[in-house]
């Protein structure tokens, strides 16, 4: 009896140990490096089953900040890059790491902060002026500080109003080095201001006293681009399937699917693909 139990356990252990290797089996898949905003909002969870249904390609998404996503793709660890910081994307293509960049969709950034609004920025239409006011009053602002698309945009805005946030780091300006959600958790805990993409904000559940204070400034426009990693740089890149995924996103069906996706009843991403890339 006991021998049988031990034998069963040994066989079970063997099975358990062997099985991680077996998941390597021939599923047709590509790896996409993308941003936390697309993952956290649930967009991929909505789109990817449709992609697989239409093309037979399983898409594996590694969701990190835009900076880290580009570093991954640069090393050849992803087949496709889907991020949101146009200047870096264009540089990525110019340096030969990507084949071509296509616009896919956009949404926007919003400024969130405590409902009490100590810096008095609610309802302002000029986001840069609002940031300047936050800086002038030394109201606590929480930054991603992680080289992500959101972080890069935020740094650009500070620059336009001549605020040196690096000098203020650690005082009223706090850099978390975390993803969007982690940063919102900290902003919520500190009752601080933060810049976030709308998708992550809509799906964020730990708002505490935070509320959306500013939206609609054209500078808060958030364009997502998609790039096939250059197979000339890394020969294992799955160029055919990667391009098929990109084509699907840009197709009428893909664009329609992006437009249909709802987050808390609101449209979170707006398709704007042009068939010609840059």
């Amino acid at each position: 009896m006991l021998r049988r139990i031990v034998l069963t356990l040994v066989v079970a252990a063997g099975y358990v140990m062997a099985s991680p290797l077996s998941t390597l089996a021939a599923e047709r898949f590509i790896t996409v490096a993308s941003t936390t905003s697309t993952e956290n909002s649930g967009l991929f969870r909505y789109l990817l089953p449709l992609v697989q249904q239409d093309s037979g390609i399983a898409v594996r998404v590694v969701a990190v900040g835009t900076g880290q996503a580009m570093a991954l793709a640069q090393r050849g660890d992803a087949d496709v890059l889907l991020v949101h910081h146009r200047p870096s994307e264009e540089q990525f293509v110019a340096e030969g790491f990507g084949v071509r960049r296509y616009d896919v969709m956009y949404n926007d950034f919003v400024l969130v902060g405590p409902r009490t609004d100590p810096a008095g920025v609610k309802g302002m239409t000029d986001v840069a002026a609002a940031l300047a006011q936050i800086a002038a009053r030394h109201a606590v602002f929480v930054s991603r500080g992680d080289d992500s698309g959101t972080h890069k945009l935020e740094l650009g805005l500070w620059q336009t109003v001549g605020v040196n946030v690096r000098a203020a780091s650690g005082t009223w300006y706090r850099e978390t080095g975390a993803g969007m959600g982690g940063t919102l958790n900290i902003a919520s805990g500190l009752e601080a201001y933060a810049l976030t993409d709308r998708g992550t904000w809509l799906s964020f559940r730990n708002r505490g006293t935070l509320a959306m204070l500013i939206e609609g400034d054209p500078r808060l426009f958030n364009q997502y681009g998609v790039i096939l990693v250059n197979p000339a740089k890394h020969k294992h890149i799955k160029a055919k399937d990667g391009q098929a995924f990109i084509d699907w996103l840009l197709s009428d069906r893909g664009q329609q699917a992006i437009a249909t996706f709802r987050l808390e009843g609101e449209q979170a991403f707006f398709p704007n693909a042009r068939k010609s890339g840059s």
Binding site: N40, G76, G181, N185
Partner: protein
Amino acid sequence: MDDMRAAFLTALGLLVGLDRDLVAIVWLSLRVSLSAVGLASLLGLPLGAIVAIWRFPGRTAVGVMLNAMMGLPPVVVGLTVYLLLSRTGPLGQLGLLFTPTAMVLAQSLLVTPIIAAFTQQTMADLYEEYAEQFRSLGVGPGRAIWTLLWDGRFSLLTGLLAGFGRASAEVGAVIIVGGNIHHVTRVMTTTIALETSKGNLALALALGIFLMLLVLAVNAVAMVVRDTAKRVYG
């Protein structure tokens, strides 16, 4: 406090409901961490025993190293394994990045020093009892190591369980080398990190409670097997 209560209720709901995604995540967590402990035992048990028994130059240094490496930061191990497995890294050809196998590798690096250090301690104590008999019977070191490992097998289980605890609890390494890909490399700890980042604190904590129950169950099974085996084989 509301979050805490919500977490316990959610955890209860998860246990009762057992949704398919969750079962897949739990199963992958178990597979990865148990495999890591298995792999780490293959390395750690002999390594610890050798260091305990063989007198070789630098033996103390190796012992100190093993003890220090029990504190390896998971995020550093993750980064190292990532650089090794990355397509431009030395093992990039294998295409193992962002697979469960990569996670097993990273976790076994974390667990091996724990098992080795624990084995070393257990074996050294046992060896003191047995050394004279070995000498009088003319038993060589290879045979001695095997005998000690076999005789100490019940105590060594604690080292394996400590290793399993370390593996199943860490998030820093697996999130880097696994990528937290839904349905492929998402395990309990990376799910908890993801739900925390979405602000789903109650759900995240509920998953944490679930993970702790899981580790408890594994430990309970191990103890029952040990006690039964002890009774039968003495």
